[in-house]
Amino acid sequence: MFNWISQTIAITALNLRTIPQRLGSSGVAIIGIAGVVVVFVSVLSIAAGFSAAMEGAGSESRALVMRTGADSEMTSGFGGNSVTIIKEAPGLRREGQTALASAELFVIIDLPKISTGTPANVPLRGVEPTAFQVRGDVKIVEGRQFTFGTNEVIVGRGARGQFAGLTVGNTVQSGKATWQVVGVFSAGGGAAETEIWVDSRVLQGIYNRGNSYQTVLAQLDSSASFDTFRDWLTTNPQLNVQVRRETEYYAAQSRALSALIRGVGFGIAALMGLGAIFGAVLTMYTAVSTRSREIATLRALGFNSTSVVVSVLAESMALGMIGGTIGGLSAYFAFNGYQTSTMNFQTFSQVAFAFLVTPELLMTGLFYALIIGLVGGLLPAIRAARLPIPSALREL
């Protein structure tokens, strides 16, 4: 047994040390595998970034109240009297007489996207003064807070970067309304950073909404009081509403697009993986056939054929490892943090986000690279072990 191990180590070390001599053909396998990992990691980093932006927006201890049947903030709506009742619900956090709940409107306006110059659906949210207590993570990073009762607005960091005209001091014309940008806010990297915020009562007037709202976002006493809050609202005969945790709401919003990107990403990567396996097979096959004399010599000297198999597999997995590392790092340096925006199909509104190459993605990419190396090395390894010694010794 010990003998077998030392034999295996000896041949494997020999193989690995001679990789540089076969740079051409090894390079082919490495590039092929690196390519697969680049595609895999970078495509999935789009999905990861989008999910992070959407789900990072939510908090377990906040609940979103919408009309029954509405599938997003966009399609929800109820009257001001419902809002009054919702704010009386138990489980809601209160500071003195004020319920920490913000009745909001959510519409979209057309603004040109900087990158293409074509119109994009930018979300415009009408909020109440309590909105800033309900969402503790919202901070003004430039300029100042807007004054309630005026046409002043603040814009999210992401929105300012993606859409034209959203700098502090600028005005934005939308239909007959003129919005004055007075500040920029951050929201912990969440989807709100793509939004423009304004006083909800001002928005009601301009959009002819009377005294109606679309959603109420509530800060709960604690995450555990969600059930109390929900049950009280959904069993109240005066109301026709549904209640969801904010985290659940945003997870559901991002599901469709993330699934689509993941599906496409995995599909493309799988096909390319197949191609890369062929590349690795060819490389290892060449490596084995150019060394068939050496291998035959080793076996004639008494080296075990399983040692030869292991050494070939080790070599091809080493190529996989190198390719996987190169691919993962290239994807990381090329795409991590790349800012872009896309459309959330549930609300037809824009979400700005950054590509996110996570450690898990890198590890998964490396894992696939090793699998490709292993599978690619299998047939050539068996061939090497089965070489008939006399004829291989005679080979040129």
Binding site: V38, G69, I108, M343
Partner: protein
């Protein structure tokens, strides 16, 4: 021609290598076909959208409704062939993940403006006779197993029914088809049914579609429409349907494009790898080439032999790959979500071009060096 057996023999000199090379070319071109299909899907079929159709949306954004009263004014404008309106319904069938577009239309002008939707005349008549009637695309009908006469409940999201409840009921009276590239995942039903039964928003529509007589006048017609409704409560913004779809695709952002370009780059790398294998297989036979020359093979014969080998591998592998991709796309979209799922003829032409140029390039380098080879050098080299 008499050298075909020789070509055949040298191809299979190393069987395993040739098979693997063939397979990797094959996979690369399957991938190429699928990528081109996804690319078309991500642009929402902008290549197919009409330019003689104009789309009028509310100037503030497309979610804002427009009054139905605009229809007459549009219809009576000189240069307008047909005008109609559409409304987004956005309902949910059983589960939110079963997404498909439901659009509220007026059947007659709608079918006139969109001749690409093919509906049998008796089904059209049934639609006109049934207020709750809806026509659906063959793709969405297949996805949910719907047949003519089925009654379909759809959950309300934007438009609540007046009588309470959360559900709208429809009868499937028609199943439309269309050429490749026509979106067959949609669900169309009648505006009069919606308008009489919705709790709010009566007398409004989502957007207008206008077919104009002269496509070259789309710019000035658009400006005229926007001028007609300027300074009203609902100002409009008119674009060609093509521009509208393009703008919509741009809203998806560059993520589709990034995915495609990364993949195309890697695809080329895979092709380079396959090509380098072919180059290598010829290099190994340098001394054999010298022997052939000694036997009196002319330079051009050697050149065409080597080129023939690489062309054979590319044409067989790549052709089979493209054919499989085409057959796969013909089966329809496996996810049932992409509105357009078609491998366009241009993409196939590009693919064929790639196959041929790859075959020539991969063969040319070793073929030229084999051609210029001096017999003595070739025999000495080992």
């Amino acid at each position: 021609m008499k050298f075909l057996p020789l070509l055949w023999k040298s191809l299979w000199r190393k069987k395993f290598r040739t098979i693997v090379t063939l397979l990797s070319v094959f996979v690369a071109f399957v991938l190429f076909g699928v990528l081109m299909t996804i690319r078309t899907a991500f642009t929402f079929g902008v290549d197919i959208a009409g330019i003689d159709r104009l789309v009028l949306i509310h100037k503030v954004s497309l979610i804002m409704p427009l009054p139905v009263s605009y229809l007459n004014r549009l219809q009576n404008t000189p240069g307008v062939e047909t005008a109609t309106h559409n409304t987004w319904f956005g309902g949910v069938y059983q589960d939110p993940s079963n997404f498909f577009a439901q659009i509220v239309v007026e059947p007659e002008p709608f079918m006139k403006i969109y001749p690409e939707y093919k509906l049998p005349p008796e089904q059209m008549k049934a639609w006109l006779d049934d207020r709750q009637g809806a026509i659906v695309g063959v793709d969405v009908a297949r996805r949910f197993g719907w047949k003519l006469g089925d009654r379909i409940p759809i959950g309300a999201t934007i438009w609540q029914p007046k009588g309470g409840g959360q559900t709208w009921e429809f009868n499937i009276v028609g199943i439309y088809d269309g050429e490749q590239g026509v979106d067959k995942t949609q669900f169309f039903f009648r505006w009069d049914y919606l308008d009489e039964n919705r709790a709010g928003g009566a007398g409004t529509v989502g957007w207008y579609v206008v077919k104009i007589a002269d496509a070259s006048k789309s710019q000035e017609m658009g400006a005229r429409f926007d001028g007609m409704f300027a300074n009203s409560d609902a100002e409009t913004k008119t674009t060609t349907e093509k521009g509208f779809v393009e703008g919509f695709a741009n809203q998806m952002g560059n993520i589709g494009a990034i995915m495609i370009w990364i993949s195309v780059a890697v695809l080329f790398m895979m092709l380079l790898i396959a090509a380098s294998t072919m180059v290598q297989s010829v290099r190994e036979r340098t001394s054999e080439m010298a022997v052939l020359k000694t036997l009196g093979f002319s330079n051009t014969t050697i050149l065409s032999l080597v080129l023939g080998e690489s062309l054979f591998i590319c044409l067989l592998g790549g052709g089979a790959g493209l054919a499989l991709a085409w057959a796969f796309v013909q089966q329809g979209d496996p996810t049932g979500q992409l509105p357009i799922f078609v491998l366009q003829p241009q993409a196939i032409m590009i693919g064929v071009g790639l196959i041929v140029s790859m075959g020539i390039l991969a063969g040319l380098i070793p073929a030229l060096s084999a051609m210029q080879l001096k017999i003595t050098d070739g025999l000495r080299r080992n």
